[in-house]
């Protein structure tokens, strides 16, 4: 079986190198990379940790699609050579490893969870009030969504756009019943929420199946749309959600006419 792996460092020779890897039942792309490291090319660089799709380390572009190497079964890919390349939206370090430190800088700009002064718990929180937050908390920071988003990938607007991962992060804080900060204005002004034109590419690649656009970005845009955010409207939406359905999945319908980008 042929596996073509991108190799190289910035400023040096770069290109795909073909390796012959013996197929093993049920193997994933990361198994193939490990085989190459062990037997063919000891200095081939990649990131991985859990090997179980739980840590978000092993992101790469497999046959052109951003995916986790540890979760991509070779037998699910079309016949023929498998190509593995590093994330294109981030600067190359070596081989399959890119410099993703910018993401950690963005995270620092987002104020941490902040409860009301003196409100120290232990809290009584009903599950219905946090039900939709669990989804956002599932994010494993693989940055595949950041990689695929055209605003970062093609337009390189890192100085004015947080990227989908951090809209998920903000949404998780903004909708937390105990968080008292209003995060919408910063997300608009500094985070570039308005630049997102709901292409949903981010949602498509998320290995945690987070509905990034419908459940995080669109609700944030809605909140942003109301200059003075209307609590009655919020309660109304929430009530509807609780009686089945979910504001989130209907997010698009609720988008005001004209819609984004704003």
């Amino acid at each position: 079986m042929e596996v073509r792996v991108f190799r190289g460092v910035p400023g040096g020779e770069q290109g795909e190198v073909a390796y012959d890897v013996p197929p093993v039942e049920g193997m994933v792309v990361l198994d193939a990379i490990h085989h190459i490291q062990k037997h063919l090319q000891t200095d081939l660089a990649c990131r991985w940790n859990c090997k179980a799709a739980k840590c978000g380390s092993c992101s790469a572009e497999i046959n052109g699609t951003p995916r986790l190497m540890c979760k991509t079964r070779i037998d699910e890919l079309p016949e023929g050579p498998v190509t593995v390349r590093p994330l294109a939206a981030f600067p190359l370090i070596k081989d399959l490893v890119t410099d993703v430190s910018w993401n950690y800088e963005v995270n620092k700009k987002i104020p941490p969870f902040t409860a009301a002064e003196g409100d120290r718990g232990p809290w009584r929180i009903q599950e219905v009030d946090i039900d939709r937050l669990y989804e956002f908390r599932r994010c494993i920071e693989c940055f595949l969504c950041q990689d695929v988003c055209h605003i970062l990938r093609n337009h390189d607007m890192r100085d004015r756009f947080y990227g989908p991962r951090f809209f998920v992060r903000v949404a998780g804080l903004e909708m937390h019943p105990k968080d008292v900060l209003n995060r919408v204005e910063q997300t608009r002004a500094e985070g570039g929420l308005g630049l997102c034109n709901i292409t949903k590419c981010c949602t498509e690649v998320c290995p945690e199946h987070i509905h990034i656009t419908d459940n995080a970005i669109i609700p944030l845009k809605e909140r942003n749309a109301d200059a003075h955010w209307d609590p009655i409207n919020f309660v109304r939406r929430k009530l509807r959600r609780d009686s089945g359905g979910g504001a989130a999945t209907r997010g698009l319908d609720e988008e005001p006419a004209g819609g984004p980008p704003r």
Binding site: V24, M27, N49, L133, Y134, R137, E141
Partner: protein
């Protein structure tokens, strides 16, 4: 002369960014120190992120009669009384606050009907005690601590640095040296106090739930710096790891599956745990369940791929997907198994290391001045067998304490310590000797030595061991130590995993030697140590822990008598 290197100055160096390191960093910074955190991986990728089942704390939210004293007793019994009782007492009391603190920092748990933190049943916990969020509790914990730490003034984090050696004079540490993984340049961190939070070691075994990080660097570094390693013979086999497909072998299947009602069956459809432990059944302690599966397979009652069946289908698809979503996904994507319709195939996998650096129970101080250790790298809390959920609590309780005491110590140190140039130069050449440069790269291949070590440990120092197998294992390790001197790899210093592996192999060999020597010393079966030639508990050996320490080039071992448990505490042991 030393090669060029960058120097980082700080009050407290925290080695590791799992739950332990992050909690320690917050504590030390809040005490007014400048803290430098260093980790081998990116932030948020340490083993802590993989924890699934939950964090054990006697909140009594579900079973009202639970309390810290019951938790204390369960933990001591689970460890077969070899635990340091004072650590267990501190732990069981303080973990309750640490859980509430997580929530205060923005962590989200599943809730009870009345809005409190939900708790689930787990192996050998007498009450429903594990606070959890589905089966991704570790992710919640690490993300919460990570966000807290990066927003705490005074905390600096350097990701993807590997430290290779503690600096100091054998009685006192002054910092550490290592390299930036990405460019291969050397870094010296000068510190008034150091907290080791480097986690455990599973990589010297073939079947393991650990990532590449679990090479025992912290234990090896502490040992070389003069600290003692306690209880090293106790390595936990988690009863349920995946066995198929081959590439997934060893990946964890959380105990929460059994906590939520999952049952084990052999190929003849018998629920064998009813026989091995009629009381606790599938939720017996991990050592017991792992041995039972091992015995069933040995007796020819294994599944097609040589394991046991784990069945949760009776809970229904909706419940399974709510409570065990990542297990569903894991089996679905890796093994094409739908766990709501088919049973899983499981077999024991190396998971956790009870042993570790010997520390003072109050302060996490080692016997080397300025050196602290907490979390999985430290020994003492779990005795001969850890109960599930007791690690996520451990890392917060003792991470915080280590950070606080290290900060206190750092404040007593006047000026920044002096680092000897010669020591730096020596550490550098220790690292660089593995690079062939333009020369001959035909030395030993680190990946193949690693594989040979895994064979020696898995086959001869594994779940079942005896004098002969352990002796074989020790001989193999000593031989590999010689061969390791001849490891050579090609490529340069920029992000070269082959080169990094050479240093990992050296650490794994040191730690493996400590495991096997301790296992040879303990001539009894207790907790995770199952000696076929000494199948019973020995009263005499139950009164000591074994500690490994360095004497020149020799590894020595001594028996450390257990502290007697005070009467007021031993009372709780009789209660339940």
């Amino acid at each position: 002369m030393a090669e060029p290197y960058t120097t980082i100055d700080c009050d407290v160096l925290v080695v590791g960014a799992g739950g332990t390191g992050l909690r320690a960093a917050v504590a030390a910074a809040e005490a007014g120190c400048r803290v430098q955190v260093v980790s081998k991986s990116l932030l948020g990728k340490a083993h802590t992120v993989m924890a699934e089942g939950g964090i054990a704390a006697g909140l009594g939210n579900v079973d009202a009669d639970d309390s810290w004293t019951v938790h204390f007793a369960d933990t001591m019994r689970g460890g077969k009384m070899l635990n340091n009782w004072r650590m267990v007492e501190i732990y069981a009391k303080e973990v309750i606050d640490r859980v509430f603190e997580l929530e205060r920092w923005g962590g989200l748990f599943d809730r009870t009907e009345d809005g409190r933190i939900m708790q689930r049943a787990f192996g050998a916990h007498s009450h429903r005690r594990l606070c959890h969020v589905g089966d991704r509790t570790g992710l919640e914990l690490i993300r919460t601590c990570q966000d807290k730490a990066v927003h705490t003034p005074g905390v600096e984090v350097s990701m993807e640095y590997t430290l290779t050696q503690l600096l100091g004079d054998g009685h006192h540490v002054t910092g550490a040296i290592g390299y930036d993984r990405n460019d291969g340049q050397f870094v010296v961190v000068r510190a008034k106090a150091v907290v080791l939070a480097t986690g455990g070691w599973g990589r010297m075994y073939r079947t393991t739930s650990n990532s590449w990080e679990g090479t025992g660097d912290g234990a090896a570094m502490a040992y070389l710096a003069g600290a003692e390693l306690l209880d090293m013979e106790f390595v936990q086999f988690h009863p349920t790891g995946m066995i198929w497909p081959p590439g997934a072998r060893g990946i964890l299947v959380t105990e929460a599956v059994r906590g939520e009602g999952g049952m084990l069956f052999n190929s003849e459809g018998q629920r064998f745990m009813l026989e091995y432990d009629p009381q606790k059944k599938d939720l017996s302690s991990r050592d017991v369940v792992a041995r039972s599966i091992f015995k069933e397979v040995k007796a020819g009652r294994g599944t097609p791929h040589g394991g046991a069946y784990l069945d949760i289908r009776h809970r229904g698809a909706e419940y399974i997907k709510k409570k065990l979503p990542s297990m569903w996904e894991q089996f679905h994507s890796l093994a094409s198994v739908d766990i709501t319709r088919e049973p899983m195939e499981v077999y024991p996998t190396i998971h956790y290391t009870m042993g570790g650096v010997r520390v003072d129970p109050e302060s996490a101080a080692t016997r080397v001045a300025a050196l602290y250790a907490a979390g999985e790298v430290a020994g003492g809390l779990h005795g001969s067998n850890r109960l599930g959920g007791n690690s996520l609590g451990d890392i917060l309780v003792f991470g915080k304490r280590a950070g606080e005491y290290a900060a206190e110590y750092a404040k007593t140190v006047g000026s920044a310590p002096v680092i000897a140039d010669a020591q730096v130069a020596e550490a550098q050449s220790d690292a660089l000797r593995f690079l062939a440069g333009d020369g001959d790269a035909t030395g030993e291949n680190p990946y193949l030595l690693h594989e040979a070590l895994q064979d020696a440990m898995q086959d001869d120092a594994g779940i079942a061991r005896d004098q002969q197998s352990l002796t074989r294992s020790l001989e193999a390790i000593l031989e590999l130590q010689e061969r390791a001197k001849r490891m050579r790899v090609g490529g340069g210093r920029v992000l070269n995993p082959g080169w990094h592996s050479c240093m990992d192999v050296v650490n794994m060999l040191t730690v493996s030697e400590a495991i096997v020597r301790s296992a040879l010393e303990r001539k009894e079966s207790r907790g995770s140590q199952w000696r076929l030639d000494y199948p019973d508990l020995s009263e005499e050996q139950g009164r000591v822990n074994y500690a490994v320490y360095r004497d020149g080039e020799l590894m020595r071992i001594r028996a450390v008598p257990l502290e007697p448990i005070p009467v007021e505490l031993s009372r709780h042991l009789e209660d339940g």
